[in-house]
């Protein structure tokens, strides 16, 4: 019965397989991303773009394989990884103790920090210590919620989790601030017409890498991807991609 809808999977595949240059023999590297995290992974006129997209294409090229990008809501990505529908997630996944217990990570390819962002003109909040008694937005499933909960005054912060649009709700004043990584926060402020400003310095170092399932087959794949990242780092390609997107090298300390 579903076969008569064969056109639909075809359409979808057309939308999902946004990459894949030279034909390689083995399975493509299936990479999940939200497609809604500027400038790491986003869509412009139906084309998937971003730092993550460029890095993973370079990795696949280095490995002499194809890459297939699968976009889903952020809250669905780890479920896709768990259920074996993708090989890894390229969405600025920060290495945390909890995640390390469960997943195998490659080396970090982004070093960053958590950043408080407020509506422009907000003088009250000048850093993470001013979040006491405030409403703070974070993305659902991201590790910023955890970071906030680890603060000594966590009980006095009202944390709101969002599936998307935290920048918009902060600009509208529905929440007092949002927490995101410094790199994309500065990018948002620089390029987009929303009245937002960074508040203070980043408050926690973040190392972002690619997670893989903890199985033998996936460990081999992780090692391959890690080797490719290392090669890109040594050849200067990784730094080059970072310069193109951020005007600075975020791929090393």
């Amino acid at each position: 019965m579903l076969r008569s809808f064969g056109i639909i999977p075809l359409l979808l595949t057309g939308g999902l397989v946004l990459a894949g240059a030279a034909q390689a023999n083995d399975q493509p590297l299936k990479v999940g991303m939200s497609g809604s995290y500027f400038p790491f992974t986003y869509v412009e006129k139906d084309v998937l773009k971003g730092y993550e997209v460029d890095v993973l294409r370079a990795v696949a090229e280095q490995m002499d394989t194809n890459v297939e990008f699968v976009t889903a809501s952020f809250s669905g990505l780890f479920g896709m990884l768990e259920s074996g529908r993708i090989d890894t997630i390229a969405n600025q996944i920060t290495i945390t103790d909890e995640r390390e217990k469960k997943y195998l990570f490659t080396q970090p390819y982004v070093y960053d920090g958590a950043q408080v962002v407020v509506k422009r003109g907000n003088e009250e909040i000048t850093g993470v210590e001013d979040l006491v008694g405030k409403k703070v937005a974070v993305n659902l499933g991201s590790n910023y919620e955890q970071l906030l909960r680890e603060l000594p005054y966590a009980d006095e912060i009202t944390i709101r989790t969002y599936d998307s649009n935290i920048e918009q709700d902060t600009a509208l004043g529905r929440v007092d601030a949002f927490v995101m990584d410094r790199v994309s926060a500065s990018q948002v402020i620089k390029e987009k017409p929303l009245p937002l400003a960074l508040a203070g310095k980043p408050f926690s170092e973040l190392r972002n890498a690619l997670p893989f399932r903890d199985t033998q087959a996936d460990e081999a794949l992780r090692d391959e991807v890690d080797a490719a990242l290392q090669a890109l780092r040594e050849s200067g390609r990784l730094s080059e991609i970072s310069q193109q997107w951020f005007g600075t090298d975020i791929s090393s300390l």
Partner: protein
């Protein structure tokens, strides 16, 4: 300052419309399957088939009692951890299955109500002129029940079209998923969501027009 960037919105329309066939396709497939399933469930409930009746009530209770998003996550992400063969189900199939199961629970009750609502005198009259049970259902009860059920079933179809917007959580880029991604690239949230709201609205209006025509047809016999 411009309230809306009209040019951006006009550019966005054709891009988003590429995802409309997928949205409507999933809803249509879900509706066809849900109609069949719910008709079966309704018959079980009306005839109170022993055993099946209790199972049907449990089915309806669960699928009506939990949010569609929870059901989608459960089947797409939860169950495959226990039964790995389920990972072969792709996001589109899972969405269609989720819509089918969820909406058939509601639709079964509407259909049951429509069948039960046909006046008893109709049944008695049919039996008095010697109709068999099959003829009674086919010629007398079901045509009248259909007329009653159509408006609510159309309602469920409309709801189903909008419920496909949850599919992006299963990695299916349909109308809403495409809009979210475009909005995150341009940061034109207002514009993007206005455009997508208008697209959904236009589709539903088109369906409402079709529903009015359908109802007029069914009501012909009742016009005085």
């Amino acid at each position: 300052m411009n309230l809306l960037d009209i040019n951006y919105m006009l550019e966005l329309v054709p891009i988003l419309l590429r995802y409309l066939p997928l949205t409507l396709g999933m809803a249509a497939a879900g509706m066809v399957l849900a109609l069949m399933l719910s008709a079966g469930l309704a018959v079980i409930r009306v005839l109170r088939i022993p055993g099946l009746n209790a199972a049907t009530m449990l089915f309806i209770s669960f699928f009506r009692g939990t949010p569609l998003l929870v059901q989608l996550f459960l089947f797409y992400y939860g169950l495959p951890q226990v039964m790995s063969f389920l990972t072969t189900i792709d996001g589109i199939t899972a969405t269609i299955m989720g819509l089918t199961l969820h909406f058939s629970a509601y639709m079964a009750e509407s259909i049951r109500a429509a069948i039960v609502g046909v006046d008893r005198s109709q049944t008695e009259a049919a039996l008095s002129i010697g109709m068999t049970n099959g003829q009674l259902m086919r010629r007398i009860v079901l045509p009248q029940a259909t007329r009653v059920a159509v408006p609510t079933l159309m309602n469920y179809f409309i709801d189903m079209i909008k419920a496909t917007s949850l599919a992006f959580t299963l990695g299916v880029t349909e109308l809403m998923g495409a809009t979210q991604k475009e909005a995150s690239g341009s940061f034109m949230y207002f514009e993007s969501f206005v455009v997508v709201a208008c697209i959904y609205w236009a589709i539903v209006e088109l369906l409402a027009w079709f529903q009015r025509r359908l109802e007029n047809r069914f009501n012909e016999a009742y016009r005085r």
